[in-house]
Structure formats: structure tokens, C-alpha cells
């Protein structure tokens, strides 16, 4: 059993870390406070290959693996949760399902531009009345000759107006329930497709989260991803992969908060000595790092299983559940160890705490992860 990442991954971590420190960290505060989508960072990430890490070179990717991809999400999320989720949603929720479920023609048409980062991807499943109960889709897609007529509204869509390619789920046959859901590749600029209300969020405030509105959008039959009626299964499988990305985002947030707290606790003096010299700080830090390392092993295991083409759905749920709850716990402790300063926006730990909360909610709440895990145990 080998708990070390391979040499190429270690070299990648070195590169990701330099990139995150020099290019991502300086913008993190501003991106949060101004609720600004860091488009310039996305372009830079594209230049160095971040937007297509696990896809083969023949489709414009980097020829890497899932571990290499989630390591990037982790390193970037250490300094900016917003940038971490942009990368994760693009890769796991749009490019990956096109790569895994797309026809050769669809892969040729969409994957290279996504993998090179020339185009940004998004995933549209959630609706006002279909959150955790994703089967309650109200969006409809009606077959009319060579196209489907798409109608309905999606909400909470990451990358929203900055995306170019959207994976959209809609009912093609309401009578069939989940077996009546299909997945479509929708392009920005299709007539009748527009961006609605922008959400004002607690955390990951730089990531655009909007409503998508479809009014009689003609989607060519060629844009049906997978088979008609296969959309629900496709969405669930896509979310299995996405959960590893969000778990890595949570892991990065936790580690980032620890790194900040280590530096602060050595600097901050109370009662004539650094707060790092108090046993309470030491024990808290020990717990924070131990829990984060445990999360890391779960996250890397899930990614390694996906790379080995073995079942990973339960392991991804465990990684996401544990890493996100760890992120919430660790960032809260980080704020506490920073004391009053931790509650101010002068230090990044309050932002990390706000960013961490969403990881317990999106791409399957902690409760959904527990359902997935227990269903596997009790089957």
C-alpha cells in the first residue's frame, strides 16, 4: 500500500502551488468582496493546461489523470474557494460527462475547446422545485423533427453567464419519471436561452451563480447527450465524479485555513508569548491537521479509484461528506484561533469559513452523501 503521491504528481503540486500563490491568492479578497468572477485567472489557468487536466491530448486535454486534476482544485482552493469551484464545475460537471458519455462527434465538437479552456462549461440540473429531489424536473424538451424544443428554468448554476457550453437536463417524457429525463448540450447564444437572476451568496462570492431561462430553445437532436431517457443516470454518475472535485475544494479550504492559522499563531503575542506556545492552540492545530489529513486520504482514494476505472461512487460520497464537514470544522476553529481578528475581513479565515459552508450543500448535501453511503452498506 502506497500513501505517497507519485513523482509527477509531486512536481505538479509544486507548479500548482506556485501558480496559486502568485496568480490566485493576490485576487482572492477582491474577488470575494466585489463578487467578481476572476475571468483573467481562468484565462491564465487555460494557458498552463488547468482546464483539461484529465482528458486525452487527442481531445485537447493534458493527458493527465483525475488525481492530477483534484490536486489542482486542492491547491487553488487553499487560497481561493471561488477559483476552485470554477475549475471543478467546468471539469467535472461539463467536460467530463461529454468525454465519458458523448458520441465521437460530440467529443470532437465540444471537448477540445473546453479542455483547452477556450470555452467554459456549466451544469444545469437544479430547479426551484428539484434540488435534492433531482427527479422532480419541470424543464421539458419536446422532440420536433430534427430538434428538441427546450422550456423551463434552472437555478443556482455555477459559471452561469461566463460559460459557453451547458449540460442541461430536461423531461423528454414526463410519464416515465426519472426514466424520462434526458441530457442536452446547450450553447450560449442559442435563441430563447438567457441568463436570469444572479444569486447573492454567503461564500464563493466570486463564482457566478445564476438562473438559466429557456423559452422555446431549439436544441438539435445531435446535442442529446447519451440516450433519450438516460439523463438521470448520467447526472448521478457525473455528480459522483463532481463530488471528488468538491471534496478537493473542501480539503483545500481546510488546509488553507490551517496554513493561515499556523503563521498567525506564531506571530500573534498574548501574555508575552506567541499564541502557538499555548497548549490549547497546539492541541487545536493538531486536531485540525489530523482531520484534514484523514480527509485528504479519502479524497485521494476516491480519485485513484476513478483513475483505476474501479467503482468509486461510495468512496466519492465518503470523501465529499468527510472533507466538507472537516472544512467547516477546521475553518471555524481557524477563526476562533485568530480571535477577534479572525472575525474581521483583514484576515482570510472568515472568507474560508463562509466558502466552506457551501461544500456541505452543493453537488449533494451531506445528508445525500449519508444516504448514498448507508444505501451501499444496507443493500
Amino acid at each position: 500500500m502506497d500513501f505517497q503521491v507519485r513523482r509527477e504528481h509531486r512536481l505538479l503540486i509544486q507548479m500548482y502551488r506556485a501558480f496559486a500563490q502568485n496568480e490566485v491568492r493576490p485576487l482572492a479578497k477582491e474577488v470575494d468582496e466585489q463578487e467578481r468572477f476572476p475571468l483573467e485567472t481562468v484565462r491564465k489557468m487555460a494557458r498552463f493546461g488547468f482546464m483539461g487536466i484529465p482528458f486525452p491530448k487527442e481531445y485537447g486535454g493534458q493527458g493527465g489523470d483525475n488525481l492530477a486534476y483534484i490536486l489542482a482544485v486542492e491547491e487553488i482552493s487553499k487560497v481561493c474557494g471561488t477559483t476552485g469551484v470554477i475549475l471543478s464545475a467546468h471539469t467535472s460537471l461539463c467536460a467530463a460527462p461529454i468525454f465519458e458519455f458523448g458520441s465521437e462527434a460530440q467529443k470532437q465538437a465540444y471537448l477540445p475547446a473546453l479542455a483547452k479552456g477556450e470555452k467554459l462549461g456549466a451544469f444545469a440540473l437544479t430547479e426551484p422545485n428539484a434540488g435534492t429531489d433531482a427527479a422532480g424536473q419541470q424543464c421539458t424538451a419536446e422532440l420536433q423533427g430534427d430538434h428538441y424544443l427546450l422550456n423551463g428554468t434552472k437555478i443556482f448554476i455555477t459559471n452561469a453567464q461566463f460559460a459557453d457550453i451547458y449540460l442541461v437536463f430536461a423531461m423528454t417524457d414526463k410519464a416515465k419519471g426519472t426514466r424520462g429525463i434526458s441530457a442536452f448540450i446547450v450553447e450560449k447564444g442559442m435563441a430563447g436561452f438567457r441568463i436570469g437572476k444572479k444569486e447573492e451568496k454567503m461564500g464563493i462570492r466570486g463564482s457566478a451563480t445564476c438562473e438559466l431561462i429557456f423559452e422555446n430553445v431549439n436544441v438539435p437532436v445531435a446535442n442529446l447527450l447519451g440516450r433519450e431517457g438516460g439523463g438521470f443516470g448520467l447526472a448521478m454518475k457525473t455528480l459522483d465524479g463532481g463530488r471528488i472535485g468538491i471534496a478537493a475544494q473542501a480539503l483545500g479550504l481546510a488546509q488553507g485555513a490551517i496554513d493561515e492559522t499556523l503563521a498567525y499563531s506564531k506571530e500573534r503575542k498574548q501574555f508575552g508569548k506567541s499564541i502557538a506556545s499555548f497548549q490549547n492552540s497546539q492541541f487545536q492545530l493538531a486536531d485540525m491537521q489530523t482531520r484534514t489529513d484523514a480527509a485528504r486520504l479519502l479524497v485521494y482514494r476516491a480519485a485513484a479509484l476513478k483513475d483505476a476505472k474501479q467503482p468509486y461512487s461510495v468512496e466519492a460520497a465518503m470523501a465529499k461528506l468527510f472533507a466538507s464537514e472537516t472544512a467547516m470544522d477546521v475553518t471555524t476553529k481557524a477563526v476562533q484561533l485568530h480571535g477577534g481578528y479572525g472575525y474581521t475581513r483583514e484576515y482570510p479565515v472568515e472568507r474560508m469559513m463562509r466558502d466552506a459552508k457551501i461544500t456541505e450543500i452543493y453537488e449533494g448535501t451531506s445528508e445525500v452523501q449519508r444516504m448514498v453511503i448507508s444505501a451501499h452498506l444496507l443493500r
Partner: protein
Amino acid sequence: MNIVVCIKQVPDTTEVRIDPATGTLIREGVPSIINPDDKAGLEAALALKGAVGATVTALSMGPPQAEIALREALAMGADHAVLISDKRFGGADTWATSITLASALRRLGFDLILCGRQAIDGDTAQVGPQIAEHLGIPQVSYVSEIQKVGDRLQVKRMFENGYQRLSVPMPCLLTVLKEMNAPRYMNVGGVFDAFRAEIPVWTVDDLDVDRAQIGLKGSPTRVKKSYTKGTKSAGKVYEVEPQEGARIIVEHLREKFII
């Protein structure tokens, strides 16, 4: 144009630990990086490749783990990499190192050799100039700008308080400063390609080199004693006009009988 960049893997710390018995570096437990001046040389080579076209080869002499530094060079965009590694080269000083590298460079062929000014662990700044001497080619040290004009290079050579602009014929060797550029990031796909690439490892048997002039035995330098310098006291800060400052300095120098 064939560019060979000599890179050294060095410990990523200013606190280099030295084995008191042998006076050589202890590498264990210290993260390793490409020496910063050498990395600037690599970036300069890759920039030239982008501007006028070139084949860039990274060359390193060191223990087997120096291979990682070469893979990093490949991931940044170098076309080839060669590692010179053999226990018999161990303990080499700058003389033995430059003789070994010069021999490898003869085997590789080159139009331009780029070396970093100096390594952050040894700080001698000798290996680059010595290589040029062994090869009998022109050299310019402390270079901060390189441009190819026709079949010559126009370079800017930095001094503490000025600079020279020089035109150099090729083949030649330049030693460059880390301040000259900001080395590019590795590329994600480049890292995977770098680990798929074969890096030839050359031993003594692959080089036409005088065996009496390599390794510890071939090194005329003898380290008498190595030690970590003690920290000095914090010193005094005067915030005064320049004239008064000069007066205070002279007074202190006199007190210590320095002047």
C-alpha cells in the same frame, strides 16, 4: 540554433547544512529546486526558442535524484535533457565539475551555452567561466539581456553600477542573472510528458574525460573547515542627514581602528 542550459539542483534553503567530516553538502531532508540563476538561463533559452527557434537541451551533473530538476526543465518546455551521474564524479569541486561538463558539452554540440551566474549553495560563480575556458569559446558573465542579431548575440552585461552592451559571436557561453526574467510555469501536460521522456544518464564511461581530473580526487580544492556563521548583533539605526551619517560611520570605523 542548439542551446544547452546547464542546471544544478540545489537545496531550497539559505541555511545549507554541511557535513563537518567531509565539508560537503548534506542533501537529505531538504527540498530541492533548480538553482534560481540557472532557471533564468532556462527561461532565456525557451524565450529564444520562441522568438527565433532553437533546440533547448538541459544538462545537469549530480546524484540520480537531480533527474527531477531535468524533468521540471522538460515540463517548462526544454526539448531534451541529459543527466551526468556517476559515483566517480562525486565530491567534485568547480574544476572537476567544469571539466566533466565541458566534456559532455563537446559530445552534445552547441551554438550557445547558458549557465546561471552562481549556485545558491556554493556561490562560487566559477563553473560557467571555467567551462568556456576548457572549450576555448568566448564568454560573457552577468548577462541580463540576450538578443539574436544575425549570427551574433547582443547581450547586456551588468555591473554593480553600470552595464555593457556587447556583441558576441557564437558558439559562446553566457552566465545569466535570475533578475533577467520570470521563469514560466510548467505546463500540466508538460509534466506528464516529462515523466514519459527518456533522460539519458551519462557516466564516466560515456565521456572523453581525463579520469585523474574528475570527482573528489581530481579536485584541487580542499575544504579545510566548514561552519555556519554566527548571527551578528542587530546593529544600530541612525535616522540622520547623509552628512551626519557619513560622520558617524567614519567615527565608528576609527574607533575600531579600521581606518
